[in-house]
Symmetry: C2
Subunit: 146 residues, 2 copies
C-alpha cells in the first residue's frame, strides 16, 4: 500500500489516468462554481434570495462593498442568469435586482452550505484559533504571549 509513496516510477501516467477519471480540470462544474466563488457573489445571492433589492439598497445592506464591485458582481450574476435587472422609469430612474428561476434553483442548493456555516461557525473558529495558537507556539516556542 505504501509502495505508492516510495515507488515513483512513471507516476505521471497514473495521474493522467486518474485525472481523466476524476476530471477535475475539464468538468464544467468548475466553470459554474468559479462564477459563484467571488467574494461577493454568495452574499448578494443570499440577499436577493430574501427579496428583490434596488442598487442603493444593496449598497446599504452590504456596507463594505464598493459600488464598483457591486455593479460588477451583479452584472456577473446577471450574465450567468441568476439575477434579473429591471429598470423602472421613475423620476430618479431606479433599478431593481431580483432572482430568476435559475437563481432560485441555484440558491436552493447553495442554501445547504449557508445552513452548515451557520451551524458550524463555532467549530471553524475554534479550528482557526487552534491553528494560529499552534503556529505561534511553533514559531515563538512560548506558551504565554506578552
Amino acid at each position: 500500500m505504501d509502495s505508492r509513496i516510495v515507488n515513483l516510477k512513471s507516476k505521471l501516467d497514473v495521474y493522467k489516468a486518474m485525472t481523466d477519471g476524476g476530471n477535475l480540470s475539464d468538468c464544467p462544474v468548475r466553470d459554474v462554481i468559479q462564477g459563484l466563488s467571488g467574494k461577493w457573489s454568495s452574499l448578494l445571492m443570499a440577499a436577493l434570495a430574501e427579496q428583490p433589492y434596488r442598487f442603493g439598497e444593496l449598497r446599504r445592506l452590504v456596507p463594505d462593498i464598493s459600488q464598483r464591485m457591486l455593479t460588477q458582481t451583479l452584472c456577473d450574476l446577471q450574465r450567468d442568469g441568476y439575477v434579473c435587472r429591471e429598470v423602472f422609469p421613475t423620476k430618479p430612474p431606479s433599478v431593481e435586482y431580483s432572482l430568476t428561476d435559475l437563481g432560485r434553483s441555484m440558491f436552493g442548493a447553495f442554501r445547504h452550505l449557508l445552513e452548515w456555516a451557520e451551524l458550524n461557525h463555532d467549530a471553524v473558529r475554534a479550528a482557526r484559533a487552534g491553528f494560529d495558537g499552534a503556529l505561534a507556539g511553533t514559531v515563538g516556542k512560548a506558551g504565554t504571549a506578552a
Copy 2:
C-alpha cells in the same frame, strides 16, 4: 407599494432596521463562506473528498494551479479545520492532505451545489451566451458578426 420608490424621506433608518433583521454584514456565516469562496478552495475540497492526496499529486491533478496558490489554499483550508496535513518521513519526505471530519461535514453541504452545477451548467452557459449576444446586439447593433 410603489411609494417606496418615490418617497425617499429618511430611508436610511428603514434600511438600518432591515439590515439588523437580515444581518448580512455581521453574521458569522460570511466569515465561514469567505474561506470557501476562494478560486481554488472548492476545487481542492472536491479533490480531497475523493481520497487523500499528496502535494505533488494535487498539483498534477489541477494543472492550472501554481504551487504558491496550492500551498496557500491548502494552508487556509487546514487553518479552517477542513483538511489535515500529515508529513511522512519517507526518503523524499512526502506530505499527505486529507479531509477532516469537519471537512467532510462541510463538503456534505457543499456537494449539493456541485451537483446542481453538474445538472445546470447548460442553463448557465445558455444564459451567458444570451447575455453576451444581447450585449453585442445593443452595442454593435449588428446581428451577424464578421
